[in-house]
């Protein structure tokens, strides 16, 4: 999909996922603002446009507004000011849009059925598809996420990494065009994290990933947006944004190790003796 990324901004209005020529605007936010009663200025005047096929990482410390942004984009929250467009259609609060899928931070929040297969079928069943179509979608999602072996197991008995793949399969079965991932690597070990990275690198959808795992974003994203105190601070190439030490530190972040040139090893010479022991 990336071969189109240098072309002109889109003007076509509605496209199906397969037969477009110019990448459409997947998500367009205009002057979006949001406050909670006890927490004003969660998001302040955010404008952002994401083209179809882009993989965008959202960085910023907890409470910077990333999760709120996700909830607004998928219509779980109504914006207080500004507009949200999803494929040239405004997002109405509480209106269902099958184009968008949201992976919650805790996969247990979205798994409830007594078997993996039932859980993946839940979305397609709600779309009112025929049994044959549902089966086809479930099979495709099982295949794509590599969890065919788990299909009869109850999701409740799976490990954290497996649960997450099931949750992703449940979203994929809806054939979404945009997927939002909230801290997908938080509870993964390195092996499942690597599997997720490979999976995302091959995936077709427009991706929005909120994560504190900057190395993960470096490997998956082609664009990074830094948010602090509800405002967009930087937006651009992942290496350029995350490699800017001054910028990162000014907003409570750290430049990822893979972008730090190794003149000398920087962990070894910690001077433990110099640390003052505290009274227990």
């Amino acid at each position: 999909m990336n071969q189109f990324s240098s072309s002109t901004p889109p003007s076509v209005s509605i496209l199906t996922a397969k037969d477009f020529l110019t990448p459409a605007t997947a998500i367009a936010l205009q002057n979006l603002s949001f406050s909670y009663p006890d927490n004003p200025h969660i998001l302040v005047d955010i404008s952002l446009s994401i083209r179809e096929g882009e993989r965008v990482g959202l960085i910023g410390h907890n409470g910077c507004g990333k999760t709120t942004l996700f909830r607004l984009v998928c219509g779980l929250l109504p914006p207080q000011a500004g507009t949200i467009q999803l494929f040239d259609q405004p997002v109405q609060p509480n209106q269902f849009r099958s184009e968008i899928g949201f992976l919650f931070q805790d996969p247990e929040d979205q798994l409830f059925s007594p078997s993996v297969r039932d859980d993946i079928a839940f979305g397609p069943q709600n779309l009112g598809l025929t049994e044959a179509e549902i089966t086809a979608r479930v099979e495709a999602a099982l295949e794509l996420t590599g969890i065919k072996a788990l299909e009869e197991r109850p999701p409740h008995h799976l490990s954290g990494g497996e649960k997450q793949m099931v949750a992703i399969a449940g979203l994929i079965a809806m054939c979404p065009r945009v997927l939002l991932y909230d801290e997908p690597t938080a509870s993964l070990d390195l092996r499942t994290r690597r599997r997720l990275i490979r999976f995302l690198q091959r995936s077709d959808e427009t991706l929005l990933l909120a994560s504190h795992d900057l190395e993960f974003l470096l490997e998956v994203c082609d664009r990074v947006v830094l948010i602090d105190e509800g405002r967009i601070i930087a937006d651009g190439d992942p290496v350029a944004v995350m490699g800017d030490q001054t910028l990162m530190e000014a907003h409570g972040l750290e430049k990822p190790h893979s972008l730090i040139p190794h003149v000398e090893p920087h962990h070894v010479q910690r001077d433990r003796l110099a640390q003052l022991p505290l009274e227990g």
């Binding site: 007594p114 109850p154 409740h156 008995h157």
Partner: protein, 214 residues
């Protein structure tokens, strides 16, 4: 299901508190006889909270939808702790939602809790009376009975209290007829409650069978 403040005459409220006090004493005595009563406290507490929250789920029954009472299921899963769970649930409901009442807390607890304890006994009977049946069938029968008996008895107590304490011009026999009619009208609801309890027990049997062996 609960009776709010102000409806029942004071002696009934006082009697409710007296009975509830007695049952609480009995429940605590039975619980303290078990091996490690404190080990069960977090489980009973969190399941009580889950029941309290989960009772907000409404089930579609065309053309309407119903909220289930689930005191039978609570009894089946928690045994004697179900009484404490109901007591706490009602107290929190009265405080956080203004739902129910403080003077009728005793009456409400008896109305919901005693049937829950009976349902618990019925559910345990499956180990003895259910032997001739296959384990699954026995679970189906006794979980249905637990669910149906829990809500059925609660409804019976509820309507009896309302009809016989509210002043009206109806005579006793007419009141009894009215009560019978109300109970008959609630048979579908009792049936649904039994079905839901059975379905839930089967869900737990598949995913976490240890929860059924309290």
């Amino acid at each position: 299901m609960h009776i709010p403040d102000g409806i029942l005459p004071a002696p009934v409220c006082v009697a409710g508190y007296a009975i509830a006090g007695g049952v609480t004493w009995l429940a605590l005595k039975r619980i303290n006889q078990t091996v490690d009563p404190q080990a069960e406290v977090p489980k009973a507490a969190l399941l009580a909270a889950a029941f309290f929250v989960g009772s907000s789920i409404s089930l579609p029954v065309p053309p309407a939808s119903v909220h289930l009472v689930l005191n039978g299921l609570l009894g089946a899963l928690l045994g004697w702790y179900a009484w404490l769970a109901i007591l706490i649930g009602l107290l929190l409901q009265a405080i956080l939602l203004g739902h129910g009442g403080l003077t009728t807390l005793g009456v409400d607890a008896v109305m919901m809790g005693v049937p829950a304890l009976i349902a618990a006994r019925v559910f345990q009977l499956r180990h003895r009376l259910g032997k001739p049946l296959s384990p699954k069938r026995s679970l189906a029968v006794f979980s249905f009975l637990a669910g149906a008996i829990g809500v059925g008895l609660a409804a019976l107590i509820f309507f009896t209290l309302i009809i016989f304490t509210l002043p009206s011009t109806l005579d006793r026999s007419a009141e009894q007829g009215f009560l019978t009619a109300l109970m008959v009208a609630h048979i579908p609801l009792i049936f649904l409650e039994g079905v839901f309890t059975t379905l839930l027990c089967f869900f737990l049997l598949r995913i976490k069978p240890e929860l059924l062996e309290s």
